[in-house]
């Protein structure tokens, strides 16, 4: 058995957030409890000024985007771009 250096990267963050929507005791499964299911990874949503969410969760009547950032990213400017998403029924 060999130990390698600890690595914690973007993929780990995505995995951790994905875990929130799985029905397992060993995960903090708050999104699952709130009725969300994983819909897409890197969803393609065709919005101008390209927003690139990492994950789309869906519940019966709600969608929840997740952008996973590590380090010193500033997320504020990105948030407003999501307002341009229009949902059609």
């Amino acid at each position: 058995m060999t130990n390698t250096d600890q690595s914690f990267d973007h993929l780990d963050i995505i995995n951790a957030v994905l875990g929130l929507a799985y029905n397992f005791e060993s995960y903090p499964n708050h999104l699952f409890k709130a009725g969300y299911k994983l819909s897409r990874i890197e969803p393609i949503i065709g919005v101008p000024d390209s927003i690139n969410p990492d994950i789309l969760f869906m519940s019966e009547n709600m969608g929840l985007f997740a952008e996973c950032k590590g380090g010193k990213f500033k997320t504020g400017s990105n948030l407003s771009r999501y307002d341009s998403i229009q949902v059609r029924h």
Partner: protein, 360 residues
Amino acid sequence: MIKSRSELHKQMERTIDANLRSLEEHGEYSEYNVKTNIIESNCNIDKIPLTFDGYHIEIKPTDDKFLFGLIVRKNSQRFVLYIDTFFDRYWKLYNMENSETIDKFMDKFTNLLLLDSLWMPHQMLDNIESTLVNVGFSIKFKQEIFDEDELGEDDISQLTMRLWSRGTKPSKNLFKLLHENNYPSTKTSTRVLNIDDNNVKFLDEVFFDGKITVNKGTDIEEHIRFVDKIIDDYSDKMKEIENNRMSLTKSACGQVVGGSPFEIKFSKNYDIYHLAEKIINSTHPFKLWGVIHDQTDDFLRIAGVDVHTGDKFSMDLMQKYGRLYLPENACGNMVFRLYTNIQHYLDPGVMIFDEHGSVF
């Protein structure tokens, strides 16, 4: 040498008849019991190595394209098995040889790359019992992960027992007693009777590793049907597990994740470093190799390889939980092997779940 399936069935039938008569007249068997070993195969028969661990195998075809004779030699020993490859992934090996000789051979044979034994957790043995008359069981629990001086005062390091009874009550009562008092209640084998109008069709002992011994019988076809039913049930469970392997597929709207991890829930907290050291050291019985690539005080992440097939897997270990991530093409038998061996060698009370609930 047997040339056809009907000849094989006749010889097995003769053996069980002879043993039945001998039991009635002398109270003991006159010949070695008929035994069937179910194994899991991920290759064709022509890919089996013909020499390993001192054994030399000769494969003899028969008139039946799925049935082969296996002449095995080791030093001065020579014995014969018949291998039925009709079910592509689950082969049946019939024999009427000394049990100890065959057990030693099967141990090495199923350790070859792309071959594996079955690993039936005790829940599967319980299911087998549920449709027949259960007249005994055996338990062979041995704590292999922790040494005796690492165990608590209430922990059990070893429990071996065997109960054979005429009726079903003693077996059920003793098992209930063990279970209620937190003794290791992982069955190594179960003894089942198929009886119809006082006519014993068979009395078989089914072991967790896929070995089935005919202790008594009047109709070999009934035994074969019983074996096939075990294969069907195992195969159905395998499909469920393999449908749950994790995958990522591209769609027009992004990428879709399929499957989910398997969650192992221990009945108590364990030292995860010690646990990992034993589980991923590539040796029997887990047959898994891995490296720890992330760790905190109470969390380990393992990147591993299933030594049985060479498939990759990932595993998280926590004091109370484990999570197993099987990629798209990995062999599902790893779930059976890992879970069953944890039951037999660490924690009889362990449970395993997928997203929909308990797997077994």
